[in-house]
Amino acid sequence: MPSEPASETVLGKGITLWGATATGKTTFLAALYTALLDQDTGWRLRGEDQGSTEALVTLTHTLADDGMFPGGTTGIRNYHWSLVGTVPRAIKEWHWYGLRRRDRNVVIPLELVDAAGEIADAGRVQSREITQRFVDNLANSTGIVFFFDPIREFERGDAFQHTFGVLAQLDSQMKRRGKLPHHVAVCVTKFDEQRVFDAAARMGMIDYDDAPPGFPRVPEEDARDFFARLCAVSRTRTAHRVLPLLEQTFDPSRIRFFVTSAIGFYVDRYSGMFDPQDYQQHIPPTIPDEEPRVRGVVRPINVVEPIVWLGKQLARTAG
């Protein structure tokens, strides 16, 4: 009879979400719990204090049940969540029935920092104090989730401006001889938006899942290239410098790219399959006071992967 897996908490520094306003940071968090449940990876999300748990419930409920997008973040919020999962031990142990690997329960604290995008907008500094606080958060994080919204970049093209200002302050503050030590998950968001999906399709970077509902994905090996090419079609001439800026500031081996969608594509409930002719999940407001809505069931794409990858890096860093 297998014994109860040993429980182990891996301590590490936090993960900071970084991106311009309305790039989908809070929606990404709201989709995380659902995504973990759907993917059945063995990991689950847990709130570690009352406020964080209430926030987890509220965000998940708003997106998954109400089909609404969570409100924008004000200031800087801290979520004390944890990834809880079971992983096999690296070393086999002797048991009476032979040499076996024993599973262990791992709790990876996710000290998530969700900051309002305008905090780091270089064009309009809200407050020096709060911007400095955000940079402090970045400096003290092990992992960074960098959000890149192709739609915003196409319409406004301020990614470089946003990124450069923050990185310059971060670099100045940390004063490292080499590159900054963070692990960076670059998330190209809003893959469900028609313009993004079409761009990926035209670039020939789409793969489809074998399992229903057969969602399209940009494979991880193409994600960097996709990001680079999206930057190239930015409204401004500076966006193509975002990727070199990231790779020159952080160790390229510690940067991974993900093409994500927090709400996924729309799937007809009767067919249960992805329809390339009818996949728009995001319903924008049509009248002034209407709220944007989610059309169908939320099916996040590549939301779990960046967090689990960063969580494992946190665990490794903490030993």
Binding site: D49, G51, S52, G72, G75, R77, A116, Q126
Partner: protein, 716 residues
């Protein structure tokens, strides 16, 4: 009057012009000019800003603001710094403050967090949603100079009520006028909210943020009233630096609010710069009895609130000088609360209360004295206080009072009337006021109080000499007191004649035991002070036998047994300390009978030495050796010359002085007659004329006798 001042502010009727407005150097109207007219409702000028987004934007910023000294960046800083985080219901209110150029509190800011009204007529052109369809939470910020506020003393409810009547102009404009309600908004005079507010007011003085939980269903107006009630329980001047919110998100990082409502407690942790975040004091809305105030300032303040009961808001409203929430300002504030009697009056009251053992009144007086002590340092007339303590028998051991009450009473009286840390003079005053011997509760209070020097420390713990317990010795040693320090302190006190004879045996006994227990070389220390002969004479005046016994004890411990001649030399050879009769007797008792003559000689030598005689004149007799025969003058001359050279460094004279010390003018040369047969000169005996003459005469007589005998034999 500047034309700019005459422009009617937005939302105000034309008749609300500032008819007699006097401008300050920076262009802002003074508080004197705020009233529209003498009989009209009070009004106050406020700089303003609107924070939010335009319909086509996604990021928050200052949309428009007034043309006053505060710039858009200033408004932006204060709004983001005191942001309450995510707000679930709207409107909500925040209050905060802005320092001036010299970092002193200058502005009080009132923020109204709200959605744009659904009615476009009242929306001031504000959109309800931004470019991505999110609801826009606007902040209407009103910044008023604290000096202006302090003159009118409006509550936060009054300000919100006034601000609700104001619509911002569509573009940058002059400051607006807030017309305050004619009747100030009420605060609860009793009930749960009032009791909770009193406790929260005291909690705020600890410096920790206070988070009120369990008020999710309470309307925002009531939450704002609660904040007002809390502030009404504090001096109005604290509003100059107060920050509060009717709601704040528990997940917000680094809230800068001192008082806020929230749905869940914030967890502890560290700030982004690594410093530990101050833990919030959590209070439950419906459970004021569960609030436990901690910290001296908070407890004392809570007691004061109980004392003044319903008068607190009225008394505190007059305390309008700006106060910060730092320990120095809080201490000053607690020490200067209104309607608090002075120390002298309180001591007199205490005397009356002690007569009838009115415990409640005694407690009240104690709390008042504690508040006085918690305040900033003020010059105190200790002599007058001590006189009142003595007159009121305040330090008497009253059996009608409980031990706890006596403990508090004595603690506070010692601090108020005798000063802490307690000096030796203060201890003597305590004895004069309370009478000796001190009773046990008072002695316990003395032990608890800080002592300024080790004499006080010892006297508070030791009641008689000769204690066998080493507890006090160990306790003092734990305070890293050097081994010789208590003895040095006793010696200094005796030299200054400041030590009371009654205290002498106790402190001297303790000092000696401490020295012997912890000093590696007590003999040197005692030798330096002449084996304490004079100290014993001072401490046991007229009691020769006790002096001798004590000195026998000192010498016994020092030399470890009967004294040899070398020990005697050492005892009497100490410079600067002429031997006392008791010391001589003690040495005699401790040495062999055969050495008694030697002792007397050493005493005489020491006395002469202490009177300033040259060293060549002092030594009386040496032990005679059988060889070489010292009678030989040539040997003695040479030997004594060498000895004189060895002793050429006189022990009496300070270094650097010539070998021969001139006699002090006050000491006459000893008459030769008294020196006869007592002092032998170290030089040749032939140098003395009388000896020479006598010798010559004797020789002549001898020669004459020999001549006569020879002649008689020869002629025979």
């Amino acid at each position: 009057v500047d034309d700019r001042d005459l422009i009617p502010p937005a939302g105000q009727p034309p008749e609300m012009l500032w008819s007699d407005g006097l401008t300050r150097p920076d262009g802002v109207l003074s508080g004197d000019s705020l009233a529209a007219d003498v009989t009209g409702p009070p009004a106050i000028v406020a700089e303003w800003a609107l924070w939010g987004k335009e319909a086509q934007e996604t990021g928050y910023h200052v949309l428009r603001c007034s043309n006053g000294p505060l710039r858009a960046q200033d408004f932006s800083e204060v709004i983001t710094r005191y942001s309450p985080g995510e707000l679930e219901g709207l409107p909500e209110y925040t209050v905060s403050w802005i320092p001036g150029a010299n970092r002193e509190p200058e502005y009080v800011a009132m923020g109204i967090h709200e959605l744009a009204p659904a009615d476009p007529q009242r929306a001031d052109g504000r959109s309800r949603r931004d470019a991505v369809g999110r609801e826009i939470v606007f902040v209407r910020l009103f910044c008023m100079r604290y000096a202006d506020l302090a003159e009118l003393s409006p509550s936060y409810q009054d300000l919100v009520q006034a601000a609700d009547q104001v619509q911002f102009p569509a573009a940058a404009a002059d400051p607006v006028t807030l017309t305050l309600p004619a009747q100030p908004s009420p605060i609860p005079g009793s009930g749960t909210a009032r009791r909770l507010a009193e406790r929260v007011a005291a909690l705020l003085l600890t410096g920790h943020p206070v988070c009120v939980l369990g008020a999710d269903d309470i309307p925002v107006a009531e939450r704002l009233r609660f904040i007002d009630t809390v502030m009404a329980m504090l001096p109005y001047g604290l509003r100059a630096t107060m920050s509060a919110a009717t709601w704040a998100g528990s997940t917000s990082q680094d809230l800068k609010l001192r008082l806020f409502f929230s749905g869940a407690p914030r967890v502890g942790g560290r700030l982004t710069d690594g410093r530990p975040r101050a833990e919030d004091c959590l209070v439950e809305w419906a459970h004021p009895e569960a609030v436990h105030v901690t910290g001296d300032a908070g407890l004392l303040y809570q007691d004061w609130l109980k004392d003044v009961r319903g008068q607190a808001p009225a008394l505190l409203a007059e305390q309008a000088s700006p106060v910060r929430f730092n320990s120095a300002d809080i201490r000053h504030m607690v020490g200067n609360l209104p309607k608090d009697k002075g120390v002298a009056e309180t001591l007199d009251d205490l005397g009356q209360s002690m007569l009838i053992a009115d415990r409640s009144a005694i407690k009240t007086a104690i709390r008042r004295l504690q508040r006085y002590l918690a305040g900033e340092h003020k010059p105190a007339d200790l002599i007058d206080y001590q006189r009142r303590v003595r007159a009121g028998h305040l330090l008497a051991d009253d059996g009608r009072l409980s031990a706890a009450l006596k403990r508090e009473l004595y603690d506070v009286l010692l601090r108020v009337a005798f000063g802490v840390p307690l000096t030796y003079a203060g201890y003597c005053s305590v004895e004069e006021c309370a009478g000796v011997p001190l009773h046990a509760p008072l002695r316990a209070a003395l032990v608890r109080s800080d002592a300024a020097d080790c004499l006080t420390w010892v006297l508070a713990r030791e009641t008689r000499p000769g204690s066998r317990s080493g507890k006090s010795l160990d306790e003092l040693r734990q305070q890293r007191m050097p081994a010789a320090e208590p003895l040095e302190r006793v010696v200094r006190a005796v030299a200054a004649q400041a030590l009371r004879p009654a205290h002498g045996p106790i402190v001297l006994d303790f000092a000696l035991r401490y020295l012997w227990k912890y000093s590696e070389d007590p003999r040197t220390v005692l030798a330096r002070h002449g084996y304490l002969a004079w100290q014993h004479e001072y401490i046991y005046p007229g009691d020769l036998e006790t002096q001798v016994k004590q000195l026998v004890r000192v010498l016994g411990v020092t030399f470890g047994g009967p004294l040899s001649r070398s020990d005697i030399d050492e005892v009497f050879g100490q410079p600067g300390y002429p031997p006392t009769v008791a010391l001589e007797e003690a040495v005699v008792r401790m040495t062999d009978r055969r050495n008694r003559g030697y002792v007397r000689e050493q005493v005489a030598a020491a006395i002469l030495r202490s009177r300033g005689f040259p060293s060549q004149t002092v030594l009386v007799r040496r032990q005679r050796l059988w060889w070489p025969p010292q009678r030989w003058p040539w040997w003695r001359r040479g030997h004594e010359a060498a000895a004189g050279q060895r002793q050429s460094t006189p022990q009496l004279e300070p270094a650097g002085q010539p070998d021969t010390v001139p006699l002090p003018p006050t000491i006459a040369p000893p008459p030769p007659a008294r020196l006869r047969n007592r002092v032998l000169f170290r030089d040749s005996a032939w140098a003395h004329p009388r000896i020479t003459v006598v010798t010559v005469v004797l020789l002549l007589v001898l020669v004459a006798a020999v001549f006569l005998i020879t002649r008689s034999v020869l002629h025979g």
